[in-house]
Symmetry: C3
Subunit: 204 residues, 3 copies
């Protein structure tokens, strides 16, 4: 179950990388590189922080195949009909939902406490997209978009809470993922936001 | 003593992250994320390079509490009076001073030689701020500001030298930190600088 | 042999970092930092992904000496005659050729399969330059330049193929490096390129 979520997260983050690659007019290999870095970046950083070796995509070919499939599928789909403007944000939101919960669960099974598990969940969910955006010399969505870290934190906490209350992990994961995704969609389509972190600045 | 320096470095780098977050109009969770990445980035990279696991902020809650406290304290302070233009540079300079020396000492206690210890000190001191700036799509201070890597290198060398001469680590650390901080302040307020690395370029 | 290629790669990537440092008007220490990060970045990331410790430049001083030598040699050379516009691209291409093949071979000797070995080769070859460009707030060559990831992938595959066919590693490495370098030079001077990854986008 966790495995299926993880691969689905790889797929949607690879799609987000492919969409950015098209905007940036990369060639096919460049698109594959950007999709791969986006898709495995979050989980790889999590595993480096946890000293969890070997990395899963070294030994399991499904990860790389999923990335190649996502780049091809995005191309087939995006040749036939115009890609909606918000497709990138929605694919990224799906990846954030999936990876945050997967990352939180991985950290819990590695024996981390709740707070660190949620932080590693946020890291897993946000880092791949951040690497994608930094490579394109843009400020990452996690800093630009409101209710991004917030949505991930809420989802990680919800997962810890629900499994702590005895809910089966699969059910807790589905609820937490739905919560992250719903919060992000509300931020994207309804312009929900949180109060800004504001200081009084001297005239610069 | 080392521990107190490390937490104080976390505090001032978290302040620097919060100041950038306010400039970039992030929301509260975004500010926490940026402050946390800035504060633990340097030490985390050092520990990954040294294969030093588990990461200290996984098991010691004081690190995360210090970050939260720094973000809140910056807000309380910055709501009441205008934030001086150079507050960011000064907070960053304080963090660079503390983390460079802490990083150098950690590398020495891990059995590294003097040169690598100083390099890991510079890495510890400069990486958190560099990650902060890269995430905001800006050229890091370590490359933009003169006498930055220079100040860190001088501080690391001074610490190695003084402890090598038999000075107690705490005294050597204080002297080395003061040197880094003084060099950075001179660069910020007096516009001290080193010769540029200059080549003759063909008209581009 | 591998060792000589690795040091030569460190040299040319350090040159590329020094050339960028001169363009960005860094001071001498900043130029050393940028050259060092460019030169050891790719191999360090590869070794972190492979959990291969301790890092080679911790214990072997030739790496750091090579970097210092490259920065000094670039300065001596670039003071006397104008630096050609494409010197940076050519130095980067040389580094990509050397590190891609070295990285592929390191991964093979660590017991990785052919696909992962080629991916780690691309990572070794492309990451140092990508870090250099990201620190300068620019889109990395691996995404901007056509036939970059492609050239690295071709070189890695060629090396795997030729050693698989029984060619001695040194001969296979020379052929594969020449192929990567030739492909990059063709892209730089002849404007060779691959088809773009193109989608139909809604008017943004």
């Amino acid at each position: 179950m966790l495995y299926a979520f993880d691969l689905f997260g790889v797929f949607v983050f690879a799609v987000s990388g492919a969409l950015v690659a098209a905007r940036k007019q990369l060639d096919w290999l460049g698109a594959l590189v950007l999709a791969a870095v986006t898709a495995v970046g979050g989980g790889t950083l999590r595993d480096l922080l946890l000293a969890r070796h070997p990395l899963v995509w070294f030994s399991d070919a499904h990860y790389l195949l999923t990335i190649a499939l996502a780049v091809a599928a995005t191309w087939v789909w995006g040749r036939q009909r115009p890609v909606p403007k918000r497709a990138l944000l929605v694919a990224d939101a799906a990846g954030l939902s999936l990876f945050t919960v997967v990352g939180t669960q991985v950290a819990l099974t590695q024996g981390q406490g709740a707070v660190i598990a949620v932080l590693l969940g946020i890291t897993t969910g946000a880092a791949g997209g951040a690497i994608r955006d930094v490579l394109c010399a843009e400020v990452p969505l996690v800093l630009r978009q409101e209710i991004y870290a917030t949505a991930a934190a809420a989802g990680g906490l919800l997962f810890v809470l629900l499994t702590g209350l005895g809910l089966p992990a699969a059910a807790a994961a589905l609820v937490a993922m739905a919560a992250v995704f719903a919060l992000r969609l509300a931020a994207i389509y309804r312009d929900w936001h949180l109060p800004r972190y504001r200081l009084r600045a001297e005239g610069e």
